[in-house]
């Protein structure tokens, strides 16, 4: 988190995606820099998830150009991105701490071994430290969501791609999420979030999808 250059920039120009032969969106432009958040809105099927997955490198853009500047030169954009999808990527038979420790070790492999300390503080930040030894199978939907959010805290990456981050979170957890997101922006990070709710953030740009189709 510390030595992050102030000028990260992610800019998409004329982006288009095709899924199953159907053009989901085309001619999409956006730009955001360090400390900014972009909220994607639009009706179901407008391509919010598709855009997030394409930025994460899980899908290909059919056309257009995604430009990423200021990050680590040795890493691909996909390796500097956290993707928080609909699914929580948790194994029910592993405990809360084991689930988080695995992702921290896997995603952090290039860097130093401060992972263990990070996972403990990340669990505390999402208020799951008390049930760290409980198998993930017993978690509620909101607790699962918070545990996958802890992954973003345990491993430092500049760009966060969030798909419906507020799903299943109660009022208290939504406030916690807002604090976490605000902290990431304050540290110079970037956030692209798809949501139907309003995120309680300052400096939010909005990108509406779904008119072009």
């Amino acid at each position: 988190m510390t030595a992050r250059a102030g000028s990260l920039r992610l800019r998409g120009t004329g982006l288009a995606c095709v899924r199953g032969g159907r053009r989901v969106f085309a001619g999409l432009d956006f730009a955001l820099t360090s400390g900014e958040a972009l909220v994607l809105t639009g009706p179901n099927g407008a391509g919010k998830t598709t855009l997030l997955r394409a930025i994460a490198g899980l899908l290909r853009f059919e056309a257009g150009n995604l430009d990423w500047q200021g990050g680590d030169e040795d890493l691909l954009l996909a390796e500097q991105v956290h993707y928080l999808g609909h699914q929580d990527a948790l194994k029910p038979s592993l405990t809360v701490a084991e689930n988080l420790a695995f992702w921290a070790a896997y995603l952090n492999s290039g860097q130093s071994s401060a992972a263990a300390a990070n996972t403990a503080s990340a669990l505390a930040a999402v208020e799951l430290a008390d049930i760290a030894d409980l198998p993930a199978a017993y978690l509620s939907a909101g607790q699962r969501r918070r545990l996958s959010l802890a992954r973003l805290l345990a491993v430092s990456r500049p760009v966060w791609l969030l798909d419906e981050p507020t799903t299943a979170l109660d009022a208290r957890a939504q406030q916690m999420l807002a604090n976490v997101l605000q902290g990431h922006l304050a540290g110079g990070g970037l956030i692209v979030a798809a949501t139907h709710a309003t995120l309680p953030l300052r400096h939010v740009a909005e990108l509406r999808l779904g008119q072009a189709a």
């Binding site: 994460a56 490198g57 899980l58 290909r60 929580d88 990527a89 592993l94 070790a105 896997y106 995603l107």
Partner: protein
């Protein structure tokens, strides 16, 4: 490296926890081998003669049993997305997952083989030979099967597709596994000739399986 170690540790741990598939294959193996003497009748000489073939068939079918979970679980809960975009090379991640799968499903079969050999009236030498061929041959089954597991995930059709895809490719392994065991026990061929071909098949499938499965998963992301 530490990323791969984490994957190995996680997969082995999940398989051994409640609900994991570690011993399913070994139990299936036991069931197949235990039932065959009842079907064939108590002809000890016959059992001894076809014992290696029965053990190999049982192991082949048992190895197929857990394969569909190799990638399907990770796809269902979203882990596969994160594994694919992680910092480690996908080929290495896939090979590590196959190794973990072999440790939890293939290795128990190898360990169970001498015990099950008792039921088939195999002499100690026969048990040793069959166990050795299984030790060398079962990794080939896992890595070949991984191609099918990756295809099942990429095409989003699990179940029946996997055995249909995998069985034909597993036939050479079966042929040379059984024939090297028989060569050692009955002759007249030297044991080493088919055994070296079995070794070659295993090395070949480790390479092909790894690259094919990684390529399939990459393509299947779309």
């Amino acid at each position: 490296m530490s990323a791969l170690a984490a994957v190995l540790k996680r997969d082995v741990r999940i398989a051994w926890r409640i609900g994991g598939g570690a011993l399913t294959g070994a139990l299936f193996f036991l069931a197949v081998v235990a039932l065959i003497p009842f079907a064939l009748g108590p002809d000890l000489a016959l059992l001894q003669r076809i014992g290696p073939a029965i053990l190999w068939l049982g192991a082949l079918l048992a190895a197929l049993l857990g394969l569909d979970r190799l990638f399907a679980d990770d796809q269902a809960d979203g882990s596969l997305d994160l594994l694919l975009t992680g910092p480690a090379l996908l080929e290495l991640v896939v090979a590590t997952k196959a190794l973990a799968h072999w440790i939890t499903t293939g290795l128990p079969l190898v360990i169970a083989a001498p015990v099950l050999g008792l039921m088939l009236n195999l002499e100690p030498r026969g048990m040793a030979v069959v166990t050795l061929t299984l030790l060398v041959g079962t990794p080939a089954l896992t890595f070949i099967g991984m191609i099918g597991a990756a295809l099942a995930v990429a095409l989003r059709r699990g179940g029946l597709l996997l055995p249909v895809l995998v069985l034909p490719m597993a036939i050479p392994v079966l042929i040379f596994g059984v024939s090297s065991a028989n060569a050692a026990l009955v002759g007249p061929m030297s044991f080493m000739t088919p055994f070296f071909i079995l070794c070659a098949l295993t090395l070949f499938s480790i390479v092909i399986g790894t690259f094919a499965a990684a390529a399939t998963l990459r393509h299947g992301m779309e």
